[in-house]
């Protein structure tokens, strides 16, 4: 072990990358290392305020029954994205592993997709219709019963999709 106090500058090799935003050292006790560290990771992954969308106390949070449009990157190398629109039927809050399920009926086939909230491939989340609007009020946290009794839950999705496309075209024109 060298006892000399030379200032050696650390240059990482190409197999290692150093995140630009380094957090200051947090205070940890013997028991809460995981909590503290995952909170830091959530802060780092919260690039566009998605934590606030899914927090428990925010009055404008996304609730089960809301209609969302999620855009995901197909790969980091390319610019191309995939979009999926659907009703939120479940939100699983687990810190960095928080995820939600969207359900839609595409060409008469029910399709569900689960998205990890803090995935770097998740580009954007847009709320097309908040929960509780237009007599689609749900009194449950998990809406898995919609798989068997959809009722009117998925009726408005087509019109919302058309509205969204129209807005996109208008935005492109401008």
């Amino acid at each position: 072990m060298s006892t000399a106090t030379e200032t050696v500058k650390y240059t990482p090799p190409s197999s290692i990358h150093v995140p630009v935003e380094q957090f200051p050292v947090p205070r940890v006790t013997k028991k809460n290392v995981i909590e503290v560290v995952s909170q830091e990771q959530v802060k780092r992954a919260n690039v566009d305020g998605r934590t606030e969308l899914f927090s428990r106390k925010n009055p404008d949070r996304i609730q089960p029954g809301a209609v969302l449009l999620v855009e995901t990157l197909n790969s980091k190398a390319k610019e191309s994205t995939s979009t999926f629109m659907g009703v939120v039927i479940a939100i699983r809050r687990k810190g960095l592993e928080t995820s939600f399920i969207l359900r839609n009926i595409v060409m008469k086939v029910g399709v569900e997709q689960r998205f990890a909230l803090y995935s770097p491939m998740l580009k954007s989340i847009k709320v097309l219709q908040p929960a509780g609007a237009k007599d689609t009020k749900f009194r449950r946290a998990k809406l898995f019963y919609l798989r068997d009794q959809p009722g009117k839950a998925f009726q408005s999705l087509q019109s919302l999709w058309k509205l969204e496309q129209a807005e996109k075209v208008a935005a492109k024109k401008n």
């Binding site: 060298s2 190409s14 050292v25 995981i34």
Partner: protein, 304 residues
């Protein structure tokens, strides 16, 4: 030598930042190899592909998730080093093999013989102690602190820990037997093993016949796990995948044995910290070091 309190040295405490973490001077212990190692501490011996570095004992803290630079998601286990120090050196001349004894996590109440033993080493008593075989060029002096930066992000490690005990487990759980049908006249034997052998020949049950018994609680090694990330301030190692045992358990981590020589480490991170990371390099390191996936190409693109 009157009271135990005089015997235990006072020390900087457990989870401190690396700036407050001292590296002790070489020992009082009688060992020619150790004195020799201390004398040449300014020039660390050069790493060769045949060198075997010391391992560490860490505590399994829990699991989390990790996304690499291409967006691929993988599970990760977080291990924390708590006051890991070298406690003893085993030498070829005296013991017949070369190894370093490593201890983890300071402990307050120890028996008097142990307290005297630790005070001679000038080290606080440790809760978990294990030996790691090393080559003679990787020997460290007694009292050396080992930190998370001993491992290089992107390298492969083996993790050994006792698995969770399952108690007296039946044959279906222990050996994945399929049991007997749930109906069709089967009486009182739905989860049993069935037959245990033949008839007149060999007229015995073979040794090693799979039967019900105690399952778990044994030492299990998971090999070739990738180190995804290192936290030099909190002394954390993020390892890809799962590790046997429950949270807060002591696990032994060492360089992978099935990857030979230089293949354990990413090719541009050679040589690894040898025999372990030195103070100057540790001071200059940023807090978080994350491994790149090492593949070089995006796993989500398809050939066109």
């Amino acid at each position: 030598m009157n009271s135990l309190t005089k015997l235990l040295p006072s020390f900087a405490s457990a989870i401190t930042t690396k700036s407050a973490r001292p590296i002790l001077a070489a020992c009082i212990h009688n060992s020619a190899v150790v004195r020799q190692a201390a004398a040449t501490s300014d020039q660390s011996p050069a790493w060769t592909p045949h060198s075997q570095r010391v391992g560490i004992i860490a505590r399994k803290k829990g699991m989390s998730t990790f996304w690499d630079e291409w967006g691929a998601r993988m599970p990760t286990t977080i291990l924390q080093l708590e006051d890991v120090q070298v406690l003893d050196v085993r030498t070829e001349e005296k013991h017949g093999y070369t190894a370093l004894q490593v201890g983890c996590t300071n402990k307050k109440n120890v028996t008097k013989p142990m307290a005297i033993h630790y005070s001679k080493l000038n080290v606080q008593p440790k809760q978990s102690v294990a030996e790691f075989r090393v080559t003679t060029d990787a020997v460290l002096p007694i009292g050396t602190s080992l930190s998370a930066a001993h491992f290089v992000p992107g390298q492969f490690v083996d993790v050994t820990a006792p698995s969770i005990g399952k108690g007296f487990a039946g044959v279906m759980k222990r050996w994945n037997f399929s049991g007997l049908p749930a109906s069709h006249g089967v009486s009182l034997a739905h989860r049993s093993a069935g037959s245990t052998g033949q008839r007149k020949w060999p007229s015995k049950v073979f040794k090693g016949k799979k039967m019900a018994g105690r399952m778990g609680g044994k030492s299990v090694t998971v090999q070739s796990l990738k180190v995804l990330k290192i936290d030099t301030e909190l002394n954390l190692i993020y390892v890809k995948g799962c590790i046997p045992g429950f949270d807060d358990q002591f696990v032994q981590v060492k360089d992978a044995v099935k990857k030979h020589g230089a293949k354990r480490f990413p090719s541009d991170a050679l040589p690894p910290p040898f025999p372990t990371i030195n103070e100057a390099s540790l001071e200059s390191m940023p807090r978080e070091l994350i491994a790149n996936s090492g593949e070089g190409k995006d796993p989500f693109t398809t050939k066109e």
